[in-house]
Symmetry: C2
Subunit: 386 residues, 2 copies
Amino acid sequence: MTDSLTAPAGPGAVAAPHPDGGPGPGPADGHEARTLLARARAAVDPALRSALESLPAPLRRVALHHFGWEHPGGAADGSPGGPGPADDARGRAGGPGGAGKAIRPALVLAAARAFGGEKAEAASVPAAAAVEVVHNFTLLHDDLMDRDTTRRHRPTAWTVFGDADAVLTGDALHALAQRILARDPHPASLTATARIADCVVELCAGQQADTALERRQPTEVALDEVFAMAEAKTGALLGCACAIGGLYAGAPAADVEALDGFGREAGLAFQLIDDIMGIWGDPLRTGKPAGADLAARKKSLPVVAALTSGTPAAAELAELYALPYDGGDLDPAIRAVERAGGRTWAQERAATHMARATRELARALPDPERAAGLLSLAAFVTRRTT
Amino acid sequence: MTDSLTAPAGPGAVAAPHPDGGPGPGPADGHEARTLLARARAAVDPALRSALESLPAPLRRVALHHFGWEHPGGAADGSPGGPGPADDARGRAGGPGGAGKAIRPALVLAAARAFGGEKAEAASVPAAAAVEVVHNFTLLHDDLMDRDTTRRHRPTAWTVFGDADAVLTGDALHALAQRILARDPHPASLTATARIADCVVELCAGQQADTALERRQPTEVALDEVFAMAEAKTGALLGCACAIGGLYAGAPAADVEALDGFGREAGLAFQLIDDIMGIWGDPLRTGKPAGADLAARKKSLPVVAALTSGTPAAAELAELYALPYDGGDLDPAIRAVERAGGRTWAQERAATHMARATRELARALPDPERAAGLLSLAAFVTRRTT
């Protein structure tokens, strides 16, 4: 469910200014966010590459494939990875290579900078790298469990190397993340390790809830359950990234928790927007056909909101969802979600969560100038998909 | 391959004195080792149970099943788990329940005690629990990858809860192990965390090598590869356990490395003995039919030694191994390994590795009285399976 949050941010994928506003504040052109993402990618890539290089060869090749770094002509020369001319040249939004758009490391660095300036930002690079490794370990395992075949425009690791190597490389990456923190002499590294461990448990619970929801009847799923799953699966690590940045900058405990809340709320706003895109998104921008989530009978937030709306359209949608997709016209289902209020509800809820995110952030960083970096990142991940 | 090293040590499973000596020193009746194992079980179980209780419910039930703690009438009341009257009453060697025989935590505690007495031993309990949790996370994932259906006389987690829940619960246990260490105020906890992370990478590499070896032609496998795999898969965590006990007792770096070497060598001795048992073991004691490893066409150490012996029996064995087992008489294969020298070689190599283990330990602990606990544990895990 976090595809567009983890896809490479190649030039083609960058959001144009949203025509009708969209949730969240921040510069309309996303320039600041793109700068922060590129800086984060450049800052953490050396640590990521050196961690991956330390793996035994059979696991290293799986990890390099997963990060999109094994291609000759890619960034395997040690230069900063991520989007660039090499990706551009291969065409398509975001390009076929690249290690993703480093939103989580960027949140760590931006939070550290907001509380401790450049010095704290520089000191938090290992923690930012650890968070990115954790994220990638969970993606590797999630792709296997979900039997997803494509990630970042490339075949997923399990399809290339088999189930066992995908499980083992994920486990090894998880261990690498700990090692990066355990070897980091920063006084906050132990607290960060504990916080990441708690977050991984929550990520696992979120993925477990997601796979369990997949097996349930659509009409048996409550909206609260889907929110709880989305917060655990998407919000928790965004919150953890912000909190760790604060920890590394020596922020007070209450501010660290406010940073965590900011990331979680932004994550929920992102998930709602992503779910909207899964139904009404422009295929040219999402890379998926319109209504893709409905064809897959996904119990996304707008769908469950529609199903539980008590409207005549809800009954109609439930009837459609009771049968597997037959390859036919998706318009009746799309219209049913819309008539049941699913789209409006999701847009309003996304705005609500972005407002909450902004409020949480203001608790920790009342000075708008210091909050600007984090806000621009939150606005970018929510706006770019609308 | 670590079945008998991880099986519950119920009364029925305890080794009788070995008739013809067997490798390794230590008291012949294993009394001291059994006492240490029971003490380790009692010491770490509260930490393990409290860690498991902290998991979200859907992951907790998988973890409790894996540890053998979910049965009413078992030890789910919070009392120390492991073998006891409840297991006994259910019959069979070791009983159907129980969390295993705690060899790794016992090694942590014994090493800490040897270097720092009772106080250091008590302080190392969280580290011992973390090592045991790491061990169990790898078992959970290995069972899934190997499609093993039985562990500790009970159905494996993936057969009961499915692949996704097995992967996720393993991941969550891995995170719990880090959290136990990260929340441990002991000054050695950060170093221990890094050491465990390195060990997990090695365990993953060992399991990867094992699954890769399974796919290769028997005649294409070199003995060195099997040894490297066994050291990574079995020796590394035994070495890590001993090293962490030393770290927690403030042992000098050279002694910590000697402890690691002791555990690794003991692990190799164990693996050789276990492989001998997989071919010539008494079915009543191994719980497997005689020749089980040959029926499964396993590339165990005695088999590869036989295949690479250059003897006429090697060619005969290669011919038998070229075909899948047809359910017929295993005696020709058993005799071929024996005539090719596989059994004698394995017995001699096991003795060599136990001698090396003893030598490593003497480097760190020249006083035999202080070394006695660790030696008795090493003797126990190697002797009990002969």
